[in-house]
Amino acid sequence: MGIINSQQSAVGSLQSGEEQILGSSVLLTKLDAIVGWGRKYSFFLYPFVTACCGMEFMSLAGPRYDLDRFGAALPRFSPRQADLLFVVGTISHKQAPILVKVYNQMTEPKWVFSFGVCATSGGFYDNYATVQGIDTLIPVDVYVPGCPPRPEMVIDGLLKLQQKVAKEKWSDWPRGEAPVTKNK
């Protein structure tokens, strides 16, 4: 909807003479809007699957819930080719440097999806081994709690992310690397 609105406003600002000349063969819009529109329907996922939420992710990506309907179908197993990092499952402290490395390897623009309560906050793994939420490591765009989350929740989260991406501007990127704290 965003693109149509901005198109209308852009068209509205034309002089009446130009509008008559260009007619319906030319579509005028803002660059931010058209790029955001393109991005939000072509996510390339990187599934960072570490735990049982992965089964739920497979069901989500499969035909029944069909993430392809939202343009986010194809998992890329190289971070260089992905722009949406799905963190699916518990992240332990031992795993944390790997997650940060994968995030930093992704090309910008990139987004992070926290799938399930363990990735979001550590969940019930409130212990010495588990990272208490991946937002202590990398910036997160959408949190979907649940153990595991229902596919409908994830789809809702993806739609929320699409809305967010559609509103982004050129100046929002690049954002730079996530900071890595070396072992003391």
Partner: protein, 162 residues
């Protein structure tokens, strides 16, 4: 039947009268508490004696009896494939001398078990060829399954809020 079941403990007591601190037998579960100095010899005896032949080291773990002296206990479970028998050895380990001899020379499969017990309880296994952390990472401070490890203890390795 009872005599059959307790043959392990009986032979152990005969062979190592000074090293067996205590024995316990309940419905076929046999336990011997032994002194740590003789653990390798006892293991070799259990493995090689023709009437015992405990050729399978099933488990090796540790327990922290915080507040008790000796504080730790290393627990071994052995299984005899030939006789279908099991035995449990408990070795008390004081905190002041938190070491016990490695039994890798008897069962090489004890390798990772001993590393795990070292990782989580901080018990040093003398003679282990590669005694380093197995589950946690290098740089982790402390041994988290010790009862005095803080429940909310966090390792400030990565990330600002951890």
């Amino acid at each position: 039947m009872t005599a059959m079941e307790s043959i392990t403990l009986k032979k152990l007591k005969e062979k190592f009268p000074d090293s067996i601190v205590d024995t316990h037998s309940f419905r076929g579960d046999e336990t011997a508490t032994v002194k740590k100095e003789k653990i390798i010899e006892i293991c070799k005896f259990l493995r090689d004696d023709n009437e015992l032949l405990y050729n399978f080291m099933m488990d090796l773990t540790a327990v922290d009896y915080y507040g008790r002296e000796p504080r730790f206990e290393v627990v071994y479970h052995f299984y005899s494939l030939k006789y279908n028998r099991r035995v449990r050895l408990k070795v008390p380990v004081p905190e002041s001398d938190c070491t016990v001899d490695s039994i890798i020379s008897v069962w090489i499969g004890a390798d990772w078990f001993e590393r795990e017990a070292y990782d989580l309880y901080g018990i040093i296994f003398n003679g282990h060829p590669n005694l380093k952390r197995i589950l946690l990472y290098e740089g982790f401070e402390g041994h988290p399954l010790r009862k005095d490890y803080p429940v909310r203890g966090r390792q400030p390795l990565i990330g600002p809020k951890n």
